[in-house]
């Protein structure tokens, strides 16, 4: 602590009036010839203080506002009854909301404005001065408090009987543990790192249209199309939303010449039809904004942009990894099916993702 200014008289600056005890002012500059506080400026009377007619008028205004409030509150009740909700008619809800709300709001505002008007015009305007004292207790009080602690310590032997004290501290730590452990079953027993790696997609699973579950013929996917796709077994799944959150796929058809597929994945597409996970590799929003001319995919949450022609690599935004590709082909009838599950976990990155 800066004790260099201990000798400085801690009498306070012009602002900080003198305090009886020596309290360090730190690096504050204490003026040597402080200004005198001129004291309160003279009080100015209000029109309602001077003119009894004005005072009467103000009193009338206040009571009028309070009466108005009663009327508005009654109108709100009337509106509740007079504007019932008619099934399927949003206009009736709009009227109910509007008039009920206006009645309540005006009732409240009238009380509020009335009360404030009352205090401003009719209650005394003269400001009052109250003295402050230091926040800390007086020396006597503090000594007394210290004594209480001392006595408590002595009578209990908390400081002296170290075995009791330490075992108590240990017990206090340990008693919290069950309270922490008991939260284990917030989640099921399966290791999430395993579950996150698998989706409903598997060899031969048909690609179907979300939400109808209609199978898709490869020939139906015309150039420039985008299909929002779910696995055929999804609609029968017990964990529909959990599985959909991993299995949602976007199907697009590009000119095969535009696709630059990496080695080993040339057969993951079918005649320029490609399927990519819809779940962003950043934090998991659905990436579904497909631009059919630029072949960019944009995530509307954080603007990560993926280039479909370059195997969905990230070209803008906070995502790091390309969207996982679903290998697809057609069955004997020309319907699109998956060749396998995704070859990597879909969605946001996690610690053990690459293990």
């Amino acid at each position: 602590m800066a004790d260099h200014d201990d000798e400085a008289p801690a009498t306070g600056s012009a602002v900080e009036k003198s305090e009886p005890q020596k309290i360090s002012a730190g690096t504050a500059v204490i003026p040597t010839d402080p200004f005198e506080n001129p004291g309160e400026p003279p009080h100015r009377l209000r029109i309602t203080d001077k003119d009894p007619a004005e005072e009467k008028k103000a009193a009338r205004q206040v009571s009028t506002l309070f009466f108005l409030s009663i009327i508005f509150s009654c109108l709100a009740v009337a509106a509740y009854i007079a504007f019932p909700i008619k099934e399927g008619d949003t206009g009736s809800i709009r009227l109910n909301n509007l008039f009920l709300g206006l009645g309540i709001a005006l009732g409240l505002l009238s009380i509020g404005i009335g009360a404030v008007h009352w205090s401003k015009t009719l209650m005394p305007a003269q400001e009052i001065t109250e003295m402050r004292h230091l926040t800390k207790g007086s020396d006597a009080t503090r000594a007394k408090a210290a004594e209480v602690f001392e006595l408590g310590n002595k009578e209990s032997g908390f400081g002296r009987r170290s075995l009791i004290r330490n075992s108590l501290i240990g017990a206090m730590v340990a008693f919290v543990l069950p309270g922490v452990v008991i939260f284990r079953d917030l989640g099921p027993k399966v290791d999430p790192n395993v579950v996150l790696r698998h989706t409903l997609w598997k060899k031969g699973m048909h690609l179907t249209i979300d939400p109808t579950g209609t199978r898709i013929k490869a020939s139906d996917v015309t150039l420039g199309s985008a299909f929002h796709v779910i696995p055929e077994s999804l609609l029968k799944s017990d964990d529909l939303l959990e599985e959909k959150a991993k299995a949602a796929v976007l199907l697009m058809r590009l000119n095969p010449d535009d696709l630059h597929e990496p080695k080993g994945r040339e057969n993951w597409q079918y005649n320029g039809i490609v399927a990519y996970s819809k779940i962003c590799t950043h934090v998991g929003c659905p990436v579904a904004l497909y631009e059919q001319q630029t072949h960019h995919l944009l995530c509307p949450c954080h603007q990560s942009t993926f280039d479909v022609t370059e195997n969905c690599k990230v070209i803008f935004g906070p995502a790091s990894r390309p969207l996982p590709q679903l290998p697809i082909t057609v069955d004997a009838d020309g319907y699109l099916v998956a060749q396998s599950d995704f070859h990597e976990p879909v969605g946001p990155s996690f610690w053990e993702r690459d293990r």
Binding site: K120, T222, G272
Partner: protein, 277 residues
């Protein structure tokens, strides 16, 4: 668009069998008539089932095609080429169909005024009949999606189904309430408020600019009608909660509460603590 054709021809048989239950024989007749009138001869065989429903049959004539050709030469050929086969400045229009022309010209996006990230909506440059003439001319050059039948544009479908399809297929770009949204590099998905049913349908069918194509095999004509029903429902039924603040979600709500909510209340605090005279 070439692969569009091949894809649809091979997918035809399956689709036809699936739909035959719902379609009256008249529709099949009109389909053939349309095919013959618009393209003639062998092209009819390739008429995509994806574009089967159309109402242009009665309105297309040779004189219309001729007028359209003249208009095209005067207004569009600079970019799209005299034969509409495209140039470095604009894509080929052979096979884009009349729906694309009606959408692009009918919403004022074409003719293009200036280079930009995407064609902007502007005041419409042509009368309806001029647009139809150009559409007929383009349709005569090669088969493509044609304008939708009016029965799909009445907004009397299933709004709930339409809303679900809209959320899955459209909301990521156009916002759940159709208020529009941003795409990459200055492009954007426009607001759908006040857009005519026909143009909404045509946009889904043709995938203008960067919008993907939603052909009739992906979103069936009746499903498109459901989507239109939902969008029109939103237009006809304003939010029961009051003004919608542009339907832009939490950002406009946050701005509103800071500027108007807290602003009003700070104004009250100033009045509250000001000395009364």
């Amino acid at each position: 668009m070439i692969s569009h054709k091949t894809a649809s021809s091979s997918g035809r048989s399956a689709k036809k069998s699936k739909r035959s239950g719902r379609r009256s024989p008249l529709a099949t007749v009109s389909l053939i008539v349309v095919g013959l009138l618009t393209t003639g001869g062998a092209y009819a065989l390739f008429t995509s089932t994806a574009t089967a429903d159309t109402n242009t049959a009665s309105s297309t004539s040779q004189s219309q095609v001729n007028e359209g050709k003249k208009l095209f030469a005067a207004n569009c050929a600079t970019c799209h080429g005299m034969a509409a086969s495209g140039s470095s400045a604009g894509p080929s229009l052979i096979g884009v169909g009349s729906a694309a022309v009606d959408f692009q010209v009918g919403t004022g996006r074409m003719p293009l005024a200036a280079d930009g990230p995407q064609a902007e909506q502007k005041p419409v440059q042509f009368t309806n009949s001029q647009t139809q003439a150009m559409a007929a001319y383009i349709a005569s050059l090669g088969t493509g999606p044609s304008e939708p039948a009016s029965k799909y544009l009445k907004a009397d479908g299933n709004a709930a189904k339409g809303a679900e399809l809209f959320r899955i297929n459209c909301a990521m770009c156009h916002n759940v309430a159709g208020a529009g949204g941003a795409l990459t590099e200055g492009k954007f998905a426009p607001s759908l408020k006040g857009v005519s049913s026909k143009h909404i349908y045509e946009a889904m069918l043709t995938g203008p600019q960067n919008m993907p194509v939603f052909n009739d095999l992906n979103i069936k004509p009746q499903e498109k009608a459901d989507i239109i029903t939902y969008l029109k429902y939103l237009e006809k039924n304003p939010s029961p909660g009051g003004f919608q603040l542009g339907d832009l979600g939490p950002v406009s709500e946050g701005l509103f509460i800071w500027i108007f909510g807290l602003g009003a209340i700070v104004a009250v605090t100033v009045w509250l603590t000001a000395r009364s005279n």
